[in-house]
């Protein structure tokens, strides 16, 4: 009987090897393992005629044969299922290059908003307040308080929009009036930025726009120095154009700072090697800065014996144009969807 069992196992495993599909497998399963008339079942019917010792011995072998056959059949089953599923899934293939349909339309923030949000977050993370001020300003805040005397060229009608019947009102020509408003309101120490809309009375063309955006900043405390100004501006430059960005400062006159500098950063297109964008200089001008003039501090109620500070201003519009490679400034306020939906 033991011989027969072994022979059955060999026979069954051999038969299993040549099985081609699920139907044949089922057939084979019934033939060898079927409860009714299966060869193993039939063979085991003879078990009852054996002695107790032989029963135990043969029974153990029978179990082993059964288990190994069942395992072999089950493995074969899995194999077939896998092949079958693969076939089925193959039929469900999709053209992944096609867009999701129906198309969903998306909205767009103005590019200026995108850059402004980014910079507001950056400065807020360094503890700066974000402030705001009137766009229609008084001559006092726009000029006088900023150490810009009455006969300064900036006050010319060619540069400044004045308001009819209110000789002392102007459309602010920069965001700097908020410096004074902020100092008067919050005093020192102070860290703040003010992004905002500004106006200059100049004809528009590809590079000039009478309405544009600036981002102004002020830091005031007891020992705020020129070196600190360099530190903060360098961190802004690195934030905007990457960790290898350097800054360059050159003298520039602004009545509300002393000393005053203009701010250049390594050209991000050519990494300072010189290209068309930076006019071969390797540098891009992005703003101005300086130590706040004592006259401005005094006008704003800051004790200049105790506190000092610096101010800076970026052309936000310019940053936007540089970032996206926009060559015509007028597009920004055109309301043209063909332009706006690209952001």
């Amino acid at each position: 009987m033991q011989e027969k069992l072994k022979q059955l196992k060999t026979e069954a495993l051999l038969a299993l090897k040549s099985i081609k599909d699920k139907a044949q497998l089922e057939e084979l399963e019934v033939r060898f393992l079927g409860r009714k008339g299966g060869e193993l079942t039939e063979l085991l019917k003879g078990l009852k005629d054996l002695s107790d010792d032989a029963k135990r011995e043969v029974g153990q072998l029978a179990n082993e044969v059964k288990t190994s056959l069942e395992e072999a059949v089950s493995a074969k089953k899995k194999e077939f299922s896998k092949i079958e599923m693969a076939g089925l899934l193959e039929k469900e293939s999709l053209d992944i290059s096609q867009p999701a349909l129906p198309p969903k339309s998306f909205g767009h923030l103005h590019p200026n908003t995108i850059i402004q949000n980014d910079l507001e977050d950056f400065f807020t993370s360094m503890g700066f307040m974000v402030l705001d001020g009137p766009e229609l300003e008084s001559e006092y805040y726009n000029f006088s308080a900023l150490n810009i005397p009455p006969d300064h060229p900036a006050r010319d009608m060619q540069d400044t929009f004045y308001i009819k019947n209110h000789t002392d009102w102007v459309m602010r020509t920069h965001t700097s009036p908020v410096q004074v408003r902020a100092m008067q309101k919050y005093g020192a120490p102070l860290r703040m930025i003010v992004p905002g809309k500004c106006f200059r009375n100049e004809a528009t063309d590809v590079r000039h726009e009478h309405t544009f955006y600036q981002l102004e900043g002020v830091v005031i405390d007891k020992d705020i120095s020129f070196a600190h100004m360099k530190g903060v501006l360098e961190s802004v430059a690195k934030h905007l154009y990457g960790p290898d960005t350097k800054i360059n400062m050159r003298p520039k006159f602004y009545p509300f700072v002393e000393p005053g500098v203009n701010l250049e950063v390594t050209c991000f297109v050519c990494q300072g090697k010189g290209c068309r964008l930076c006019k071969q200089s390797g540098w891009l001008e992005i703003g101005g800065a300086g130590m706040i003039h004592p006259n401005v501090l005094r006008e704003s109620g800051i004790d200049t014996k105790v506190n000092q500070g610096f101010a800076f201003g970026f052309g936000l519009t310019r940053l936007v144009m540089l970032k996206y490679g926009i060559e015509d400034v007028r597009l920004l306020e055109s309301g043209n969807m063909k332009f706006l939906e690209q952001f």
Binding site: K104, S105, F106, G107, H108, L109, H110, T113, G127, F128, V130, D132, P134, E135, L136, E137, Y140, A145, D151, P153, D156, F161, Y162, I163, K164, W169, P189, M192, K197, F199, A203, H210, T211, D221, D223, I224, S225, F226, A227, H228, K230, G231, V232, S235, R250, P251, K252, F253, E258, P259, M291, P294, Q308, L332, E333, G335, N336, M337, L340, E341
Partner: protein, 814 residues
């Protein structure tokens, strides 16, 4: 302003190894903006002076000549088409390898040996335009070649050497000089260069004028405030004629045309020292008396440029007893200037009030080299040196010329030259790094400051040329020191601060949230518009111009008004885009300007106030297929408030604005405020604006909304939900159109404890149900908090709902 590198070298001991580029780089880093460097003669390699030994007719061409040209080491055969070529003439000869512009046009082309009509030609005899020297040798006719016969040079001499073209011209941005009156001439720039390269700066040497007695001149300055100093001297024996070569060349390098020796000398001195001069013909000044006075209102005057100018009483003129001779510091008169017959002159070297010059030149629309300098506040001490220099140059140039009068000097000025107290501690505190004391003193002294040091303290006297406006406080000295020391040498450090969180800008945060909801959730596109609107736009809207603040000097007459809402420009955006898109969804966030309400204070003590400038959001929707865009606008409203987790109410509005659709209009309320308007634009207004589609619009005052939100503290929205299943029943009812959802909702809400929510999910109007009716489909949710409902309970509650609908609203169940 142009600056000649060679001219600078007269005053600074620059070694030859220091190039013009290096000078420009240092000036840029520490002083002024250098926009360009033009190196003279840089394209003149292989171009030499040639002597024509013989010339004959070209065998195969009538208009060409065959020349034998001596170029020093060899003789070349050249074919030439020049109209003035003749034997013995010195010409510009471009040898093989030289770069020229054919006929003065296009790119530079390298010359190669060639055959012209079968005759060899190894080079080219050039016209001035072909070698970029048209300014120096203006063409009289097209085929004229440059005639260098006046030069005393050997054939073969390089052209750049023969013409002395070894200079480099620095172009300086005038704007970067606006606060530096001392830099408007070579001498001033040279001083900076000397400091920057730590080289010796040469004193300006000029001798005293020996007065004459021949001519008696008098000067009366009537307004000493506008003319703090007026110096004049007469010279006789003058022969007006062409300037000497060196002078012509100097002016030409500066882009100035040579006029005559006297005028050229005044210009030269101006470019040398920065002090404008003027020369009058002495015979044209009645009684030799110069009067410096303000003009009479309406006084007419013809300036040098032959323009008739109308003067006003704020302008200063130089006059004699009879008539005006010049607009002071701006431009001379046509009649009193130098001409070929002039034999005696009066030099004026004066100082004028900067703002007066600027306002005069602005009012006349007349800017000159002279006014550009005077309006920067020149050093009054400069007048004496400049006058001495001019006289010296005339004496050197004109044989027979002599000083014919005493030197008149009318002056009243005082300069605030300090001293300023400065300490190393102050410097270090401002700059953030410690500078060597020796370096500080060197920088200041080389710039012309007189420094007395006592320990760590300095007492610094300001030189007169920096004392007129640019330096007055210690901070000004800090700038002088650090810019020369080098901004790049100051190492960057970050300031340290207490970690106080910044005060939040709540309005800006709200603006950002609203923008994100509109753009990201509802697919609206953000636009930025000008703050200006046109009278046409206002009138088309049916609004009144008087409600708008007006610019005094608009850029164009087109848009002179300040917007009082965002709508006007937003509608213009719709009009401009709707042709290209089936649907336009746009919004803008920005400030508007009120004529009625006051806003921020206009001065430090708050006595006067600016107009209120609230921030608004405006949303506009138009779709070619949507005739009721009101709902899209309302969806924007709902989304905004949902995103803000805040409540709003819409209420009917009876004060209809001309542009509002009277029956598709609502006010938006929240808290105790009216925040804005929800409406469709009245179709006739859209049409007037060129929009065929209906436009749905939402306008919200974000400044007010922020106030409302700031009052809502700790609003809790969460309610525990029942663990037992709810039962949903949908029902469509037919009601008359005048029945409002709001009334149905308030009648049903709370009508039965099991009824948890009532929501409208569809409204239908159409032919099938009659014109006066609408079908409203509601969803009712029934639920008990403590157990599962049985059908009978729900039936009973639903029946009660139906009863209310029928009895209160005459609803017909569909």
């Amino acid at each position: 302003m142009l600056i000649s590198y060679n001219w600078l070298k007269k005053y600074v001991n620059l070694s030859d190894s220091i190039t013009a580029e290096e000078v420009a780089a240092k000036l840029k880093a520490s002083t002024v903006e250098v926009e360009n460097i033009e190196v003279q003669g840089k394209n003149l390699e292989n171009i030499v002076v040639g002597k024509i030994l013989s010339e004959s007719k070209h065998p195969n061409a009538d208009k060409l000549r065959l020349c034998k040209v001596d170029v020093g080491n060899e003789q070349l055969q050249i074919v030439c088409g020049g109209s003035n070529v003749k034997s013995g003439m010195l010409v510009v000869l471009a040898k093989v390898g030289a770069k020229v512009k054919w006929h003065g046009e296009g790119e530079l082309i390298e010359l190669k040996p060639t055959k012209i009509r079968d005759v060899e030609s190894s080079g080219m005899i050039c016209a001035s335009t072909e070698i970029g020297l048209a300014e120096m040798f203006p063409l009289k006719d097209e085929k004229e070649i440059v005639d260098l016969s006046h030069l005393k040079v050997k054939p073969g001499t390089a052209l750049s050497v023969a013409l002395g073209l070894n200079d480099a011209i620095l172009e300086i941005d005038n704007k970067s000089l606006s606060n530096r009156p001392d830099l408007w001439g070579h001498y001033g720039i040279a001083r900076e260069v000397a400091v920057l390269f730590n080289k010796t700066f040469k004193e300006y040497k000029v001798g005293k004028i020996k007065p004459g007695k021949e001519i008696n001149i008098k000067v009366e300055v009537q307004n000493i405030k506008l003319c703090p100093r007026y110096m004049a001297v007469a010279m006789s024996g003058i022969k007006v004629g062409p300037s000497p070569e060196w002078l012509k060349k100097s002016l030409l390098a500066m882009g100035h045309r040579s006029i005559n020796n006297i005028v050229d000398i005044t210009n030269y001195v101006m470019m040398d020292l920065g002090q404008p001069l003027h020369a009058f013909d002495a015979t044209k000044i009645t009684n030799g008396k110069i009067v410096v006075r303000t003009a009479k209102d309406g006084e007419e005057f013809v300036t040098l440029d032959k323009e008739k100018r109308k003067l006003s009483s704020s302008m200063l003129v130089i006059a004699d007893e009879a008539k005006a001779l010049a607009v002071a510091g701006v431009m001379g008169g046509l009649d009193s200037g130098i001409n070929d017959q002039t034999t005696s002159i009066i030099f004026e070297s004066a100082n004028f009030d900067a703002s007066s010059i600027r306002s005069t030149s602005t009012k006349l629309g007349l800017r000159s080299d002279s006014s550009a300098r005077f309006e920067k506040s020149l050093d009054p001490n400069l007048t004496a040196i400049a006058l001495q220099k001019a006289v010296e140059l005339v004496l050197a140039d004109c044989v027979g010329a002599k000083v014919a009068s005493k030197v008149v000097d009318e002056s009243k000025f005082s300069l605030k030259q300090g001293p300023i107290a400065l300490s190393t501690e102050f410097l270090e505190k401002k700059i953030g790094v410690k500078l060597p004391k020796k370096e500080v003193v060197r920088i200041l002294e080389q710039l012309g400051f007189e420094v007395k040091s006592k320990g760590e303290e300095f007492s610094v006297k300001i030189p007169s040329w920096r004392a007129t406006k640019d330096i007055s406080i210690p901070e000004d000295l800090v700038e002088e020191i650090v810019r020369i020391y080098g901004y790049d040498k100051v190492s960057a450090t970050m300031p340290t601060f207490s970690i106080v969180p910044p005060t939040e800008h709540r309005l800006r945060k709200l603006e950002r949230t609203v923008k994100n909801i509109l753009a990201n959730s509802l697919a609206y596109t953000e636009v930025y518009n000008y703050s200006f609107v046109s009278g046409g736009q206002i009138e088309k809207m049916g609004d009144s111009l008087s409600k708008y603040i007006e610019l005094d000097n608009p850029l164009s007459k087109e848009k002179p008004y300040l917007r009082r809402n965002l709508l006007l420009n937003l509608l213009e955006n719709i009009k401009n885009n709707i042709e290209n898109y089936p649907e336009v969804k746009i919004f803008e966030v920005g400030k508007v300007f009120s004529t009625k309400e006051n806003g921020s204070r206009a001065d430090s003590n708050g006595d006067s106030l600016l107009p209120r400038q609230d921030s608004w959001v405006a949303v506009a929707y138009a779709n070619k297929k949507d005739s009721t865009p009101f709902w899209q606008a309302k969806q924007a409203l709902e989304s905004i408030f949902s995103g803000l987790n805040a409540d709003f109410r819409v209420v009917p509005h009876d004060k209809v604005q001309p542009w509002e659709h009277p029956s598709r209009l609502a006010l938006v309320h929240s808290g105790d405020q009216t925040l804005g308007v929800l409406c469709e634009i009245s179709p006739d207004v859209s049409e007037a604006m060129g929009i065929e589609q209906r436009v749905g619009v939402l306008q919200l005052n974000l400044s007010l909304l922020e106030e409302v939100l700031s009052k809502q503290v700790g609003k809790s929205n969460y309610k525990p939900s029942s663990a037992y299943p709810d039962v949903v029943r949908d029902l469509a009812v037919l009601v008359k159109k005048n029945i409002s959802h709001k009334d149905i909702l308030s009648a049903l809400t709370g009508s039965d404890p099991l009824l948890k929510s009532v929501s409208l999910f569809d409204v239908y109007e159409g032919k099938n149900i009659g014109a006066e009716y609408k079908s409203m489909a509601y969803r009712f949710v029934y639920q008990h908090n403590e157990r599962t409902l049985v059908t009978e309970e729900v039936d009973k509650a639903h029946a009660a709902v139906i009863k209310i609908l029928k009895e209160k609203f005459g609803a017909e169940i569909r």
